[in-house]
């Protein structure tokens, strides 16, 4: 019987090693797998390269991971958000590096990584400072830059409901980067509010087919970042 359930967040992230590249789903707090991130903080892996659209807020979730000094490099499009104070400090002091990637290019690089496409061309960033260091090439009289696919050792994502095979449905705009990251990591770890039997989900409506999912952890009542931040929470 195919059953990708794992007992706990701790067990699901137990083998993340120092120096790993970890994609973390979410756009702001929507889709942020807070419980998996906190388990990763407990687990202790360091020198991580983290891929996320942002850098978290307050001192919980992704921001807490960064604050704990575990992240040597962020790859993201928008590291500056409301209540985002942890990353700016570490970035200015040179302790966390930043690779700034336009949001659509970031999504497409992850998609390419998952699709076995090592590189593609896009017009995004042509003629801007973010073109620097990229190869430029003309197709049909327009200029494009070469961008490289992005893969990871782990993806940590959150969904609404999963079946034992790892077929996933998300909640509204929490789908964002998660459904793409699931395809691009060697090991994709999902926290879900609910697990159902295969056949309970409509096969026409599945967003992430189980082939992309390796571990499922049930977190029935996940924390909301904005609530924790409003409460002044910090982790650990």
């Amino acid at each position: 019987m195919i059953d990708k359930r794992t007992a706990s967040p701790a067990e699901a992230v137990a083998d993340v090693s120092d120096g790993a590249t970890v994609m973390i789903g979410g756009f702001g707090e929507a889709g942020s797998p807070i419980e998996l991130i906190h388990a990763l903080i407990d687990q202790g892996a360091t020198d991580l390269t983290v891929v996320n659209n942002n850098t978290g807020s307050g001192e919980v979730g992704l921001a807490a991971l960064i604050k704990a000094g575990r992240v040597s490099k962020m790859i993201c499009s928008y590291p500056r958000t409301a209540n985002s104070t942890v990353f700016p400090e570490l970035y200015r002091s040179g302790r966390t590096a930043l690779e700034l990637v336009p949001q659509g290019t970031l999504a497409e690089r992850i998609r390419a990584g998952g699709a076995g496409i090592p590189a593609f061309y896009t017009a995004t960033s042509v003629g801007t400072p973010l073109e620097e260091g990229k190869e430029r090439r003309t197709f049909h009289d327009r200029d494009y830059v070469l961008e490289l696919g992005l893969t990871a050792d782990f993806a940590l994502i959150k969904c609404r409901v999963a079946d034992r095979h790892g077929n996933l449905l998300y909640n509204k705009t929490a789908r964002n980067f998660s459904a793409v990251m699931a395809t691009a990591a060697r090991t994709t770890v999902v926290q879900t509010k609910e697990v159902v039997e295969p056949g309970a989900l409509d096969p026409e409506a599945i967003v992430t087919p189980g082939i992309f999912v390796h571990r499922i952890v049930t977190v029935p009542d996940p924390a909301h970042e904005s609530v924790l931040v409003a409460e002044g929470g910090s982790y650990p």
Binding site: F27, G28, E29, A30, G31, N53, S77, Y78, P79, R80, T81, A82, F87, P88, Y91, R92, L98, L100, V101, P102, Q103, G104, T105, A107, E108, I110, R111, T122, A123, T124, S125, V126, G127, T128, P129, L130, Y170, N171, K172, T173, A174, R175, N176, F177, S178, A179, V180, V207, H224, E225, S226, V227
Partner: protein
Amino acid sequence: MSDTVGLTRDEMAERAALDIPNGAYVNLGIGIPELVARHVPEGREFIYHTENGLLGMGPSPAPGEGDPELINAGKRQVTALPGAAYFHHADSFVMIRGGHLDLCVLGALQVSQRGDLANWSTGAPDAIPAVGGAMDLVAGVDTIFVITQHTTRDGQPKLVEECTYPLTGPAAVDRIYTDLAVIDITPDGFQLVELSPGVDYDYVAERTGAPLIPIRSTP
């Protein structure tokens, strides 16, 4: 003229909305552009796209009825209208990069007379660079409207010969809506299209950092 000359933020958004064709698929940037959604002209319907994965975005939810996982690109809670669709980020930028959106309304730090847009960074050495989806939008969407105050808080022109801030994209902007005027980007530079009530050509031209072509008189 007084300090209160020209349009308010809300009036600028209303004016821009007048130029959006019926049935258009539209992405609204953060800030004044968000206000455009309040001003759909009578008899028209626009479908709003937010790059974090929703087509058919509706207004803010009633207090207490929002979902923290139903947000817009500015990370504010929104709603989904009948006919909405959710999708992931790669698919969302297929819409943007692939030229499927009709129009995007963005804010600006500077716009050059060639339509170069700078709206993501002042280039200050201690700034945390953050670009989001702006470069994808200007590279992918056919028609780019900019809504912006005509000058900075300390009176410097935002419509300039050459942008001094880092570019979001070259030759990107089609039309600019400011508190003082509506201005097109043309091969000849800034072309005045319309003056706000109580504003004259000289007042706008003085506050514009490049030549401003007067409204063509009807022949």
